[in-house]
């Protein structure tokens, strides 16, 4: 079984509950996060960062299922994934 599976799944279950943050200024564009993510969250930027690489950015955060594979595989400490803070309950007026 390959490590990088080209096909992305459409997983709605558990999605939309995660904040995914990439430090684009540190990304060296290895492409690991894009390839390992089982759903479609990442995409390439078209502008270079200060290191001269065209970094990854979070294109579809709502797809994230919080599997942390991207966090584990990034060799440059760029990625943070955390549960979204619960929405503030609306204050009754």
């Amino acid at each position: 079984m390959p490590l990088f599976k080209p096909e992305k799944k459409q997983i709605a279950q558990n999605a939309g509950k995660w904040d995914v943050v990439i430090s684009e200024d540190m990304c060296k564009a290895c492409g690991f996060c894009l390839q390992i993510c089982p759903v479609d969250v990442f995409a390439w930027r078209r502008t270079a960062n200060r290191l001269g690489w065209f970094p990854m950015y979070v294109a579809h955060e709502a797809n994230c299922i919080g599997c942390m594979l991207c966090y584990q595989i990034c060799p440059d400490f760029c990625i943070n994934v955390a549960p979204k803070a619960e929405a503030e309950p609306a204050v009754a007026s």
């Binding site: 079984m1 390959p2 540190m26």
Partner: protein
């Protein structure tokens, strides 16, 4: 920057000095997770490195105490530090050339003495910082900068050597086995004795380019994964397979080296040197 890098590393040293797609940073990230899961703080761990890509990348990234030693000599420095400050955890992160070529004798004797350090040998299967020459862990037959007709020597397994020498914890993993690596490093750090963790990782710039004919980051990491699984992505058996996991676990089964020395000095009657050693432990002895 990820949370643990913010907690434990020096921001000025990040992004890493490694090439893109190099496995050194991944393994360092997993070391941070092991340290964090054990509840260790910056001041509890001394991070030591040697020379080479692994040394250059990891040197001075650790926010707490750290040292960079000359090539192959990180364990000599760690021995002195462990004797002087026995209560810290020592994490010595070195390349395969550092651990298994120029530093082999230091490695063997640290294992024999059961020195209380954890050695993480990050193995890219060559001397990559000096241009991709072969090292003792280059698989036989593989082309490198200095073996254009294929590596003629059989390769050498540092795990077997340290185990035979007396290491109390020995394990092997690869840069595609994050959960296993974190679990193993945690066990290694809990052994009050000599622990050796061998981790293979991809080098795109040299090993990848010469031996595998590609600088494609994805192909190089996939190659590591295939040799861990014993199967290529299309299901064929690989030319060889790395057996990973814990290879020997006799954690805390025999006394640690610096402890033996301190006990001996006390038995010999307490010289000023032993008093100094006792002070380090918080017990002040009149001399």
């Amino acid at each position: 920057m990820n949370k643990l890098a913010q907690k434990y590393l020096r921001p000025s040293q990040i992004p890493t000095k490694a090439c893109h797609g190099c496995g050194i940073g991944m393994i360092e990230n997993w070391l941070l997770q092991a340290i964090d899961e054990l509840g260790l703080k910056q001041e509890d761990v001394v991070f030591g490195t040697g020379i080479g890509c692994v040394g250059r990348q990891t040197f001075a990234t650790w926010g707490g105490d750290n040292f960079g030693a000359t090539h192959g000599r990180a364990l000599a420095v760690a021995t002195g530090l462990k004797i002087a400050q026995p209560d810290k955890k020592y994490l010595v992160v070195v390349g395969d050339g550092d651990a298994a070529a120029i530093g082999t004798s230091h490695l063997i004797h640290a294992a024999r003495r059961n020195l209380g350090v954890t050695v993480v040998c990050e193995d890219n299967m060559g001397y990559e910082s000096t241009g991709g020459q072969f090292s003792p862990t280059t698989p036989a037959g593989y082309v490198t900068n200095s073996s254009p007709y294929g590596m003629v020597e059989p390769s050498f397994d540092p795990c077997d050597v340290v185990k035979a020498a007396g290491a109390t914890f020995v394990a092997e993993t690869t840069a595609t086995q994050w959960h296993q690596t974190i679990k193993i490093v945690k066990k290694a750090l809990q052994n009050d004795g000599f622990s050796f963790v061998h981790v293979r990782f991809p080098c795109n710039e040299n090993f990848g380019a010469y031996a595998l004919g590609t600088r494609d980051t994805l192909k190089n990491l996939e190659w590591i994964w295939e040799h861990t699984q014993g199967r290529t992505a299309d299901g064929k058996p690989t030319d060889f397979t790395w057996e990973t996991g814990i290879k020997h676990d006799a954690s805390n089964s025999r006394p640690e080296f610096s402890k033996i020395l301190r006990d001996l000095v006390r038995k010999a009657g307490g010289t000023p040197a032993s008093a100094a050693l006792d002070r380090v432990e918080g017990v002040v002895v009149d001399d």
